[in-house]
């Protein structure tokens, strides 16, 4: 199978990244570092996943928390029911959230963009109500989850889950990159630029939108699945947290929506800022900062950091023509 040079470089970079992450798990013993970086990795997945539907196709998901939570609770349910290993939880979580994306999409992607967005808010609130009223999943009080012992090659289960999240992040970015540089990405961009014209140019707009919604949902579910094991606890307010909804949206907008590296930049920057603010000031203020940055960028720098960088180089924002790095 012919592999393009850009893809080869990406895969090499991914392997190097994962090797570094693994090396970190062996070298660093401070658990807090893993806690904090896990959150950043999680945001990379969420932001990347959001951007597949939001940045590439132009449909704004306000309920990312719901997709994340479905992944988390699917993991919890399987863990409680059959003691499923975490990899199974991730696949199952991705499947369930993918199906949710498909369902919400089938319901609302035929309509104008704002109705899809409202449908995502609806699904977030409805699902949170369902979970709160389901004792098997812990209801409002939540469930403690007992982490298994450390698997081979790792000091602790937490480090293993941390490495797993790094792998999921690589997979997510790989998917986003593939979609972006392929004919699928071009079709999505045509939909975003002018859906009517795209349809008349032979683009099966509904099918592509459903595909993007399903993939986006699935990746968010994958991000959520290991969450209970990471936290040793699960309860509705931490997974259905509005912060996920806002961050998943703010990070790609701030980083830049036109290229897969934008959400990664946004996630790393914003994720780090959030960790610092939460620890030093307060967690409400942290979330407020995200909201304010979102509005500032939407108004003043709609192409995000990538756009600002391109402008600084005195070029217009990149015009996509063929597969880049």
């Amino acid at each position: 199978m012919k592999v393009e040079p850009g893809t080869k470089r990406f895969l090499i970079g991914a392997i190097v990244f994962l090797a570094l992450v693994y090396a970190m798990t062996r070298a660093v013993s401070n658990e807090y570092v893993f806690f904090a970086l896990y959150v950043v990795l999680q945001f990379i997945v969420l932001a990347t996943a959001w951007n597949i539907l939001g940045g590439y196709a132009g449909y704004v998901n306000f309920g990312s928390g719901a997709f994340f939570a479905v992944g988390a609770y699917t993991g919890v349910a399987l863990f409680k029911w059959v003691d499923a290993p975490v990899l199974v939880q991730v696949v199952a979580g991705a499947t369930m959230s993918g199906l949710l994306g498909l369902a919400v999409g089938a319901l609302s992607l035929r309509l104008r963009g704002i109705f899809f967005s409202i449908a995502t808010v609806a699904i977030a609130i409805i699902l949170e109500t369902v979970v709160v009223n389901t004792p098997y999943l812990g209801g409002a009080k939540g469930l403690p989850i007992l982490r298994p012992g450390a698997p081979p090659l790792f000091h602790s289960y937490l480090e293993f889950v941390f490495f797993l999240m790094a792998v999921i992040a690589v997979v997510a970015v790989f998917c986003a990159r593939y979609v972006e540089t392929s004919w699928i990405g071009r079709g999505l961009r045509a939909i975003r630029d002018n859906e009517g014209a795209a349809e008349c140019s032979g683009v099966p707009t509904l099918k592509l939108k459903l595909f993007a919604a399903t993939l986006s949902g699935a990746l968010m579910g994958a991000a959520g699945a290991p969450f209970a094991l990471y936290l040793s606890f699960i309860e509705p307010t931490s997974v259905f947290n509005l912060n996920y909804a806002v961050s998943a949206l703010a990070m790609p907008i701030i980083g830049g929506m036109s290229h897969w590296i934008g959400p990664v930049i946004g996630a790393v920057l914003l994720g780090t800022v959030q960790q610092l603010v939460t620890v030093t000031i307060s967690s409400e203020l942290n979330v407020l900062v995200v909201g304010v940055l979102l509005v500032v960028f939407v108004v003043a720098a709609p192409d995000g950091i990538l756009g600002l960088v391109a402008k600084l180089r005195r070029r217009r924002p990149p015009v996509r023509q063929e597969a880049p790095a």
């Binding site: 939001g54 132009g58 704004v60 306000f62 319901l107 609302s108 309509l111 963009g113 704002i114 109705f115 967005s117 409202i118 449908a119 808010v121 609806a122 699904i123 609130i125 409805i126 109500t129 709160v132 009223n133 975003r192 509005l242 806002v246 949206l249 703010a250 907008i253 409400e284 203020l285 979330v287 407020l288 909201g291 304010v292 979102l294 509005v295 939407v298 108004v299 709609p302």
Partner: protein, 289 residues
């Protein structure tokens, strides 16, 4: 189900429904007529409610507080629309996503701002009509619901009259249908839209006062009201102000029945459920233009 219970649920549903219609009026104007993706409308409602709470601390009746807040909110609405128009609509590029994200950000900032200022707990106001009920035979109807119901009817009546009888009101309805024709008549559509949005925000102020009369308010209520207000506006059909009443009644009764049968936890989900059903089956709503 017990017939008496059913009757009581329907009566409260009707009063609740008119209240829902009233709180959705601002959105009906902003989104239904002006096509602004105003997902922050419920946040403005909650802002109004907390404004009434704040003024209540000085001994002001919530309705009076709401009236006092109206001019403030009107000016605020003018400013918001002017900013929205200048930043997004005029440039016409990629407006869908950016405008939507903007209002989402605004709603979010309002919610967090309220949490920082007031905390996450519920707040209530006091008034002579809050806490007592009217006894009609075996039924007890809370006075606060009657007040909200009455005020809602007054509000809707005034707004409908304004839109059909005054020049500005008719201009607002016209700008939704044919901007070009309005321009040819020498009227600046942007000024009309800005006024309309200011009006919608002012209505949100008094509706917010009704909100805190009907029940306690916390900063997170905005998100639940996204469901209720958009449900009413979409079910009514975009652009139909009278339809808002019918849609509100449907929602109010449905929620009331669910509340009586399944409990309070499921009531907020009713609006979202109806909304999703309407979008799936008949997105134009009942009286859509």
């Amino acid at each position: 189900m017990d017939l008496q219970l059913l009757f009581e649920a329907t009566v409260s549903g009707v009063m609740l429904g008119c209240f829902y219609a009233a709180v959705s009026l601002g959105l009906s104007i902003a989104f239904g007529l002006l096509d602004v993706p105003h997902i922050a409308h419920p946040a403005f409602l909650v802002l109004g409610a907390f404004g009434a709470y704040l003024l209540g601390g000085y001994g002001l009746d919530p309705l009076v507080a709401g009236l006092l807040l109206m001019p403030v909110f009107f000016v605020f609405g003018l400013a918001v629309y002017q900013f929205y128009y200048a930043t997004f609509e005029r440039r016409g590029t990629d407006t869908g996503l950016r405008g939507l994200a903007f209002f989402f950000g605004v709603a979010f900032i309002v919610e967090i701002g309220l949490i920082l200022a007031f905390g996450v707990d519920q707040r209530m106001v006091e008034a002579p009509y809050i806490g007592h009920s009217l006894e009609l035979g075996e039924m007890r109807v809370p006075y606060r619901m009657l007040v909200a119901f009455g005020m809602a009817l007054v509000l809707m009546g005034l707004l409908t009259a304004f839109l059909s009888r005054t020049f500005t009101g008719r201009a607002i309805k016209a700008v939704a249908q044919d901007e070009g024709a309005l321009r040819l008549m020498g009227v600046d559509p942007v000024r009309v839209k800005r006024f309309a949005f200011g009006l919608a925000t002012a209505v949100a102020a008094i509706a917010g006062a009704l909100l805190i009369i009907v029940g306690p308010v916390d900063p997170g209520l905005g998100r639940i009201y996204i469901g209720r207000t958009f449900c009413v506006v979409v079910l009514a059909g975009l652009g139909s102000i009278p339809g808002t009443v019918v849609a509100g009644l449907i929602l109010g009764v449905a929620e009331s029945l669910v509340l009586t049968t399944a409990g309070a936890a499921w009531a907020p989900a009713v609006a979202f459920g109806i909304l999703l059903a309407v979008l799936a089956v008949r997105p134009a709503g009942l009286f859509g233009r």
